[in-house]
């Protein structure tokens, strides 16, 4: 029997496995947390949130543990967790996820003082969540392939046959649904379906997962034009440098349904056991200090608090002329998703 034995390496491996199992069990017993650690479910870009969280922690001494994921998956998770949700706050990139949670009656009311920090049109009409920052949808086009004068004036123009093979789309991107909803709001469902079919035909195989990809593909000339939220272009420029930019952004005509202002917001959960501290975090997000952090971060979003200016590179918020569609009308995006299913883009 001596020849067939585990050998030193085998015994080491065995010991290592057992040790790991032990470590796992210990780890599984859970982290020890102080009573006042807030749990933030974060659908915003983690870099932006981290900057805000560390400033908040320094100012108040309240610790915040961040859980980042796609906002819709987080919203679904909160619905599944129901009353026993460990989350205190949810902070999202877009309003539909918040509207969805509001519809499920899972959000607590935001205090009037916090709501008063930003114009009422950017927050929930039911006062369940507060608007924090905003982005605007624009065209991004490759400057080697197109000149500004060739661009369509309206988002509807992108369904024109002229853009066949030139257009790229991201139907699964959360930022895309508000545009559909906005078109439905202005021109009706049939027009929205016709438009979706048009851009589907024009895009062909240029169907991408997100805005980042569209911005990068337009910049590299794979496609000539696409719709993105403005900040992805600025972030790309900050990352690769101006010399590497072969693209530009352009606005649709004022009040065009493609010219949508998307609001990022935050809410306290009804099930939170730390509502007072969570409320402090919301207040911090819309405070002058919080809004300045947002404005100066490399995120290139528009702060919503009056008197806090956006990054100088951006066209000022006050001069924007977005479509007249409210956050309540944008809703939870379910209708837009149904239309995407109908035309088989999803």
């Amino acid at each position: 029997m001596t020849r067939v034995s585990l050998g030193r390496a085998g015994r080491l491996l065995g010991a290592a496995l057992l040790g790991l199992l032990g470590a796992t069990l210990l780890a599984a017993c859970g982290p020890t947390r102080g009573p006042a650690t807030l749990i933030l479910y974060n659908g915003q870009h983690p870099e932006t949130t981290d900057a805000l969280v560390s400033a908040f922690e320094r100012q108040t001494g309240i610790q915040v543990a961040v859980r980042s994921n796609d906002e819709d998956i987080l919203a679904d998770q909160i619905v599944q967790e129901g009353r026993s949700s460990p989350a205190d706050i949810i902070y999202t990139e877009n309003s539909p996820a918040l509207e969805y949670l509001q519809g499920e009656h899972l959000l607590a009311s935001v205090t009037p003082a916090t709501l008063a920090a930003v114009p009422a049109k950017y927050s929930s009409p039911e006062s369940d969540w507060v608007g924090v920052s905003a982005r605007v949808s624009v065209m991004v086009y490759n400057t080697k392939q197109l000149s500004a004068s060739e661009l369509p004036k309206s988002v509807l123009g992108l369904a024109d046959h002229r853009w066949k093979g030139l257009l790229g789309i991201a139907p699964g991107e959360t930022d895309f649904q508000p545009i559909i909803t906005s078109i439905v709001h202005r021109y009706g469902k049939a027009a929205a379906v016709a438009w979706l079919k048009g851009i589907q035909a024009n895009a062909g195989s240029h169907v991408y997962p997100d805005n980042e990809t569209i911005a990068a593909r337009v910049n590299s000339g794979q496609i000539a034009i696409g719709i993105i939220n403005h900040y992805y272009w600025y972030r790309l420029r900050a990352e690769v440098g101006s010399a590497q930019m072969h693209s530009a952004i352009a606005f649709f005509r004022p009040r065009d349904p493609g010219y949508v202002l998307d609001v990022s917001g935050a809410a306290v959960l009804k099930s939170s056991a730390h509502k007072a501290e969570a409320e402090k975090f919301l207040a911090f997000l819309v405070s002058r200090q919080g809004q300045r952090i947002l404005a100066n971060s490399p995120s290139f979003e528009y702060p919503l608090r009056p008197g806090v200016a956006a990054a100088p590179a951006l066209r000022p918020l006050a001069s924007l002329r977005p479509a007249e569609v409210s956050v309540a009308q944008l809703g939870d995006g379910a209708e837009a998703v149904a239309l995407l299913h109908q035309v088989q883009l999803l």
Binding site: L13, A75, Q80
Partner: protein, 528 residues
């Protein structure tokens, strides 16, 4: 030992009917039950939606498009991976290829590079690499080691006598390869192909970056676009079905024969084939494979480390802490998956009754399921039945172990199948109890397979993203989640250190995996 073993004549054709060991059966049933949890979740969700709506979601143009996309990719990538993996293994193991020891190592290492890092590498530098062509390139480059590794081990362990006999009987080197060598390693190639196709079914990150639409990307999108669990679950059921078909196909093709060399001295290195004027073309071909699969992604990570303009480079402490968690979770999951695979493999190989085979097959189902679905299933069951484990690292580790169980299983099964039963029977006849035999005889014999299983699961878990995002304890980051956070923000420079750390962590098990296969056969009952 060797003499004893060779004296005992127990040809594989003689089936000794034995009772199914009860302990193993119970353990295997528990493992299977655990692995079927995600499927149970899917069926629960499906029932909630109603079959009528499900059919509506399934039978439409998009499903067909996704199916065509997936099958078109799976067939080509599996064939390419089988060709490259087997060819490379043969060159390294059977010829006088210059630099074969270094190449043997480099050929395994692409396993250590996450597929989404490869995809990110190509796309961020050459955006033309996308869609179908890009997916074929990236996935072949990332997955061929899953064929190369077992085949080279198999070749090293295979009895060279048959090849030598063929040569002395006048068969040329080419025909010897086709008619003898290939036949010897055919089950191993098939097992490798199975791994490749199953990995393709489950891949998400790379396809997302490449803009190639398959079920996984679409399932993720359905969750993402808003609270659409029914559509996602419907598509997941299709993936389960495809996974079962793949398994069925592999099961039909698989050689059921049990081959084990009983005499120890029959394992020795045969003379290597002289490549002569094909030496350098062969080296160039393998170097090209290594350059595409390993050089390119590592080069791009280094490029972004140096060139990236992200204003806020992450602190090194955060890379260290993310790396620590990644290693802990992945290693624990690898250990658990390996331990879970052992009883099932022992049962399936030693008592292959029909019911047992069904049990065995059922454990493969999870491989077809996207990580996100498995994560949501665990969220559901944890919240309902074990609320105290919710969002603890234990649940995440459990998810990894479930998610990557089939990888562990394939490796463990291969080594159990190749361990000579005769040795166990001798030990039994010498009066040892079944558990003593398992501990003293079987375990050492299958140890290489266990190590390979551990490394395979570890390598995959290090790069897991979608399940991690859902289940990781709040406030904890892993390398994959941080990489995702920064690339989602177009901060390529900031993402690069995390990619580099992932590669660095994976290199050790990658090398171990190669080394272990390299060394063990000389000492132990070897895989064949």
């Amino acid at each position: 030992m060797a003499i004893l073993a060779s004296e005992v004549e127990l040809p594989g054709s003689v089936r000794v009917r034995r009772r199914v060991p009860r302990g193993l059966l119970v353990a295997s049933c528990l493992v299977a039950a655990l692995l079927l949890l995600p499927l149970a979740f899917l069926l629960l969700e499906a029932r909630q939606v109603g079959w009528a709506q499900l059919f509506g979601l399934l039978f439409r143009q998009l499903t067909l498009t996704l199916l065509v996309n997936l099958v078109g990719l799976a067939v080509v990538v599996t064939a390419l991976a089988a060709g490259i993996g087997t060819g490379a293994a043969w060159l390294v193991e059977r010829t006088d290829l210059p630099g074969r020891r270094l190449l043997a190592l480099l050929l395994v290492l692409p396993l250590a590079v996450p597929d989404f890092v490869v995809a990110f590498g190509w796309v961020s530098l050459l955006p033309a690499v996308s869609g179908y062509g890009g997916a074929v390139l990236v996935m072949t480059a990332g997955l061929y080691p899953l064929v190369y590794l077992p085949v080279s081990a198999s070749l090293r362990g295979a009895d060279p006598t048959q090849e030598e006999t063929a040569r002395t009987l006048g068969l040329g080197p080419g025909r010897t390869f086709w008619r003898v060598t290939l036949r010897q390693v055919r089950p191993t190639i098939l097992a490798g192909c199975l791994l490749v196709s199953l990995a393709l079914l489950a891949e998400y990150g790379a396809f997302e970056i490449l803009g190639y639409q398959t079920f996984t990307t679409e399932i993720f999108t359905e969750f993402q676009v808003g609270f659409n669990a029914p559509a996602a679950c419907a598509l997941s059921l299709v993936v389960v079905l495809i996974g079962l078909l793949v398994l069925l196909g592999e099961g039909t093709l698989r050689d059921r024969g049990r081959m084990a060399r009983t005499a120890h001295n029959s394992r020795r290195a045969g003379p290597r084939l002289q490549l002569r004027r094909w030496r350098w073309p062969a080296v160039a071909a393998l170097a090209l494979v290594v350059a595409v699969a390993l050089g390119m992604p590592i080069g791009v990570v280094l490029y972004w480390l140096v060139r990236g303009g992200s204003s806020t480079l992450p602190q090194s402490a955060s890379v260290g802490s993310a790396a620590g968690h990644t290693v802990l979770y992945s290693a624990a999951a690898a250990a658990i998956a390996t331990i879970l695979a052992l009883p099932v493999a022992l049962l399936a190989c030693r008592s292959p009754e029909r019911g047992v085979r069904l049990l065995e097959r059922s454990t493969y189902i999870v491989q077809g399921l996207p990580g996100l679905v498995i994560a949501l299933a665990l969220v559901f069951f944890a919240l309902h039945y074990l609320p105290f484990v919710y969002q603890t690292s234990g649940l995440l580790i459990g998810a990894y172990a479930i998610l990557f169980f089939p990888l562990a299983y394939v490796a463990v099964r291969a080594s159990v199948l190749q361990a000579p039963v005769a040795l166990e029977e001798v030990a039994r006849s010498l009066g040892r109890s079944p558990w003593q035999v398992r501990w003293r005889v079987t375990l050492p014999l299958v140890a290489p397979g266990l190590a390979a299983a551990f490394c395979l699961v570890f390598l995959s878990a290090v790069t897991e993203l979608t399940a991690t995002l859902v289940l990781v304890p709040t406030g904890v980051q892993t390398l994959a989640t941080q990489f995702w956070a920064y690339t989602g923000n177009v901060s390529y420079g900031a993402a690069a250190p995390y990619a580099a750390a992932m590669v660095a962590i994976s290199i050790v098990p990658g090398i171990l995996l190669g080394r272990w296969f390299d060394r063990r056969p000389a000492q132990l009952g070897a895989p064949r």
